[in-house]
Point group: D2
């Protein structure tokens, strides 16, 4: 099999290498000529055998929009585009239509695993028609982890379903991380009782109900920085957690832990909370409670 | 009527003055001789006409414990102690027993209104036997706001019920303050739309569903400090909110907004959140996401 | 002054009557001829003196979209449209553009007060240009409550600002209601301590920190139904709370109490929670905990 | 090594059998003669070689209190008691003192793993003095899972630290379960996109960031009951989650996801929420919103 990959950032480049190790021919295209195998998108399309399979791995939003628009022009009916980036699932519906107008097939693939995927394989959640997913299966089999296919890959449903599942996956991930983090703070607070926080988390890795990969990563982080004092409690978010809450609100699904995890990140990025200034002002008004003046 | 007040801090002193304005004779005792009317607790007990009525207005916990123990020694059967401090309702159960062993009667009174109570009267929530509450009614009528008694006073139930209601009152208060504060942040964030946050809140004082005394205080705070930039978003808590959550947990009552309000205060007091350092570390581990190093 | 009102449902009809009591001439149009003063929108436009002022009071979304489109056709440059319905603020931006293309001016007005507004006046939050807001001031003065204008009316900012403020108002309102409701459940749970829940809430109406109009409504509800057992704990939401959370997510503003209030409503409408079935299943899997079989 | 086990319920009996498979001699005592190896606690103490090691595995609270009191009478200085039940960590402090008065040593052991521990070993978190933990190490090594000791066992700190860590473990566990459950509801809601929820979760087991043992259990549950419709969304809690929130409140540690998980369980057990009846009543009062009458 011979496929194209568009976008050779860290993820795309890792995937190219993993696919090649699994005997898939890959031609990569990137706007950065230093990493690109070809000089242009048109050239990429030219070198691929028809019907073509193209994996898109570029930033979600406008960049993906542009690549899909270009591919709609360049590809032929029967070619297949797989969107492996972190697109919002509603965007995939539009991509499917844009490409489908010219008979180009479309599959969306949510990809999990981060920088570890190169070593262990990527968890894949895929949306699209049966025959399109089937056609791309050698690619999915090369990218997914070792072991039974159904434990690291799922064909979730029609186009957009893959990124829908990935969005939910990430919302859950936010809440899982926050849960361990709350446990960390509770353990770290009682230095009179918990003499070694890292050892305590390490001991949770086998036999307990809370064992998980995230736990193993937390142990690894604590081994490198036992007090976590080389890092600031400032946490970005990449959008998918927000989309999950938006979707939950639309669907009237209560998601208190996912929302709490997002809000905790928002707060972590504030130097001083406007809301808490309002609460402090109120306390001051009704109770004459002492307040902390803002620093000069 | 002639009563004793023990504890002449800001609240106790204000109450003494309000009671005297309402033609109640008051003898006050405080460990600070500069404000005390008598030299000792024993002297206070001596000057009060039997059966005595004594209002205790000292810090909750050990100080109140000590005063109640002393009163149990000094008072006679048929005397009445009213605990107006912010005690945990479970403490009142113990006080009732300690005093009751010698036939001394006991009533607990939750008091709301803060520093404004001196001017407008105090909202009162009272627990105790009917005859004891009835005996103290002239005191309650003097302390409570103008208007119908039942709108600023309630006899909630037996001993401890007054402070139980006050605890719930304060838990609700925390959540109300947090609600307005979230609204404040949302309004203040969109400077492109909301050109005058203070005027917006001011306009909510009549006719809207959210009009309240807390809203009026927020308007007052904004009039004094329109950007709330003379204050830090650092908020203490006085214990009653915590008790409310503890009680809710014991009673299996879901209190998501009250708990959220308490947690927001906890976070506001942290320079850097240990939990969020854990989340940042986790992101770093799985995604190679850039992190902010802790500052030197 | 002579204005038109489009939409004579409960709110629109009440407003027509309140405006007339304040010596504003009003011609109302509704698709229901039984309540309409004129036979068509065109006729309404015809009878109004130029430059015209038209208050739109129809359901938000497609219905308002349609009315605005019709008015863009019928009105002349210099006429003024005020959107008093519960539109999402982003819709107002579009309305302003649609109407502005033909020189028609536009103001959005968030209206609070519910069914009580007819008696007490409506809290108003308005967005638009200074001269447009000024032109409509007699209408706002007639609709708003007695008392100082700035306590029941605010000119929040440019077009869309009025409904932005109204959206935030409603988000806050959701959280306030939830806060009192949690307090209600805590008080009602301890029948051993709180012998009269209604009297306890009634006693909070004067002097306490939590006094508010919502509290007065809760007292009123408890007077009519002391155990609240004539009503089901099933709560709809009208959209504005959802928009508030969506906006907060977009703006990275933490809104834990507003979100908790929305989620509590979502849960209240579920016969059986899918999420909690998942938790019950998990407990069953790892602990062999007894579970409740679904009922036949 | 020869130890005694007190309490041969499911967990105690499983442990006895696992220890015997690992060549530890075990004499078990239970009040149920059908499962007990000896007729009385005194007899158990008699048959054990001095210095004795006794593992207590009975319900936390009064039952453990009673067993510890009995052991304080029966054991000799230098004997060692290990409390493997789910005690609140503050109880362990008292047990350590009670036993220590007579020179009896004490270790507390938090045990995780549920019914699967018999097969895979138990995750262990232990509190106590170094020499006492060392003495009991053959027991811990037999009970813990295969693999490196430090991945399934930790010596957390002094007496009470083991159960403190176990309490936090369970608090985290509650939040993790709730996180997956929210994801489940989001996936199950969109039947238009997610055609096979079980396959989607199954595909998360390898390569994804959210892979964990709980996830595997959820997949197992879905394999047995794909729609989770044989179970009711009614979830008990065993106390440790509540203790975690209480502790967090005491320590001023924000735990929004753990608290949300507990509250969700509380709600799941309510037929009709008093709080939401209050919210529905309020909506009815101010808006004339339609309400659902309580069913007959």
């Amino acid at each position: 099999m011979h496929i194209g990959i568009i976008g050779l950032g860290r993820m795309g480049a890792n995937m190219r290498s993993r696919l090649r190790q699994h005997d898939i021919d890959v031609t990569g295209y990137d706007t950065n000529p230093a990493v690109s195998d070809v000089g242009s998108l048109a050239e990429l399309v030219e070198v691929l055998p028809a019907p073509r399979v193209v994996w898109v791995m570029v930033p979600s939003g406008p960049v993906t929009d542009g690549v899909v628009a270009d591919l709609a022009d360049l590809l032929d009916a029967g070619d297949l585009v797989i969107n492996g980036g972190n697109s919002r699932y509603t965007d995939d519906l539009a991509y499917g239509e844009t490409l489908g107008a010219g008979g180009v097939r479309f599959v969306d693939a949510g990809v999990s695993g981060g920088v570890w995927g190169d070593r262990y394989g990527y968890g894949l959640m895929v949306g699209g028609a049966d025959e399109d997913v089937e056609r791309a299966m050698p690619v999915f089999d090369a990218l997914r982890p070792e072991g039974p296919r159904e434990e690291g890959f799922s064909h979730v449903g029609p186009v957009a379903a893959g990124h829908y599942a990935k969005m939910v996956h990430n919302g859950v991930e936010y809440a899982l991380m926050q849960a361990y983090a709350e446990g960390y703070e509770l353990l770290a607070k009682r230095t009179d009782l918990v003499t070694d926080v890292e050892a305590t988390f390490a001991g949770w890795q086998r036999g307990t109900v809370v064992r998980s990969w995230l736990l193993e990563l937390l142990v690894r982080a604590l081994q490198q920085d036992p007090e976590l004092d080389e890092i600031k409690g400032y946490v970005e978010d990449s959008g998918e957690g927000r989309w999950t809450v938006d979707e939950a609100i639309d669907q009237a699904v209560p998601v208190p832990t996912i929302a709490a995890a997002i809000f905790a990140r928002f707060v972590s990025r504030q130097d001083d909370s406007p809301a808490m200034r309002a609460v402090a002002s109120l306390r001051n008004q009704f109770g004459g409670h002492a307040v902390k003046p803002a620093e000069e």
